[in-house]
Amino acid sequence: MEEKVKNITTDEQQEYVINMGPQHPSTHGVLRLVVSLKGEIVKNVQPHIGYIHRGIEKMCESITYPQIIHLTDRMDYLSAHINNEAVCLSVEKALEVDIPDRVKVIRTIMSELTRIQSHQLWWASFGMDLGGLTCFFYGLRDREKILDIFEETCGSRMIVSYNCPGGLMYDIHPNFQKRVKDFIKYFRKILPEYDQLLTGNVIFHERSKGIGKLSLKDAISYGITGPSGRASGFSCDVRKHEPYSAYDRIIFKEILFTEGDTYHRYVARIEEMWESMNIIEQLIDNIPDGPFAVKMKPIIKLPEGEYYQRVETARGELGVYIISDGNKNPYRVKFRSPNFVNLSVLNQIASGFKIADLVAIGGSLDLVIPDIDR
């Protein structure tokens, strides 16, 4: 990678190479983009990653399966609950445990709440990237309501650690259902306000329509998943194609667009918030009775073999690949994280646009840096 950077500076003297990050506010974390410019036009973007590499995959090899879960919280911290679920599902798949219906439904509701709060924060920061500071306050104000629900039931606001192999850590709080219903009622009224503030705004249209086009062919060959991939027409929703938890018993539609520009990646996420609310409304009144966890052995040992489970986080497809040699620690754990893959397409779609558009494109990919570095 270094060689390429050197080549740019020596061979093409016409180009101007600048560093965007690691402390640039629009990269949303410690991501360094080496951008080579010709005038104001982006010629090449080289992401340099690894500033907060913590070696989570290596750490997983020395701890037990229930302990892995608290580390996955810290990868993609905005969809912490879904990451937890991915590890739990793969451990349960390996042990062939039957999970009670109550657990499945609660996990699904929690996942969708996580998705909504993640998209709210994304909307807030995306608006701020494009110069609309109001969005930031409005987005965080509504996110607070979901964080309160998490805090009451799970005990933490962001990094919840609510799942454990075999079920949940505790049962839901008695106020949970009422709070979720109140939130849905409130948010259905608020979401049109988001459209009035940003979606219909003429400055926003000018800055996002036709910018950073990602074709369907590229989306598939790069493996872009999540709302970013679905905005290009890549039908990649794991919830739909390989249903886990309670997704097989509910009706929801996969949000698909064909344009694949920044504007449609934005609209795909807004539509997903509506869809998530529909999913929660179908389940919230029908939480079945039963135990909230299966009694597991105090020391969980997976049988020898390889196990893979994929889930749909707020940003795309997360895969957990566990190789077990029969001990209480995994032999190897690999996370296929959506953000790492989504970042790889940045050079492809940002080249040829202006440097101010790079901020918009990077924001629309919705990158979370700890998930890239792991």
């Binding site: 805090e151 005990g155 306000e193 503030l197």
Partner: protein
């Protein structure tokens, strides 16, 4: 001619879309009931955290200065990052038997990730989460806490 009309149309539409956004923010200006900001340092007296909130690990003692911790060390094994350390001692019980008992239950708040595995796996429910959240100190050594109070003993009937 058409291009001029389109240009003017765009301007009118643009201004209209901006006004729509301004209407939303403006309406909040006249609705002070929708303000959600908490005035945090001023409302400390009546600020109630949720009862499940994971603030810090504590060991509840009763009025006779007794706790339930037997010093089995399960919390130490389950802690993923070594924030709990148990130093045990052997004592002689009333009927003359030698028994292991807890000397110090050391909890390093600075290393804790609040995964709740220690509290969940404790066989005698000796430790619990407290709701305090103002943990900032000037000296890092103050974050290393001893959970059992000095002179405390095992509660009768807990094995």
């Amino acid at each position: 001619m058409r291009s001029i009309i389109n240009y003017l149309k765009e301007i009118v539409f643009g201004v209209w879309s901006l006004m729509k956004g301004m209407k939303v923010t403006g309406s909040y200006f006249f609705r002070p009931g929708t303000i959600v900001t908490q005035k945090y340092p001023n409302n400390r007296k009546d600020l109630v955290m949720f009862d499940r909130f994971k603030g810090e690990v504590v060991m509840p003692h009763n009025e006779k200065n007794e706790h339930k911790c037997t010093g089995c060390g399960i919390c130490e094994i389950n802690c993923p990052n070594g924030s709990i350390e148990i130093i045990s001692k052997s004592i002689v019980t009333e009927d003359g038997k030698k028994k292991r008992a807890i000397d110090k239950h050391i909890y390093r708040l600075g290393m804790c990730t609040f995964c709740a595995l220690c509290v969940k796996t404790c066989p005698s429910n000796a430790i619990a989460f407290a709701q305090g959240f103002e943990h900032a100190v000037f000296n890092r050594a103050l974050l290393i806490k001893t959970l059992n109070k000095p002179g405390s003993q095992l509660m009768k009937g807990v094995e």
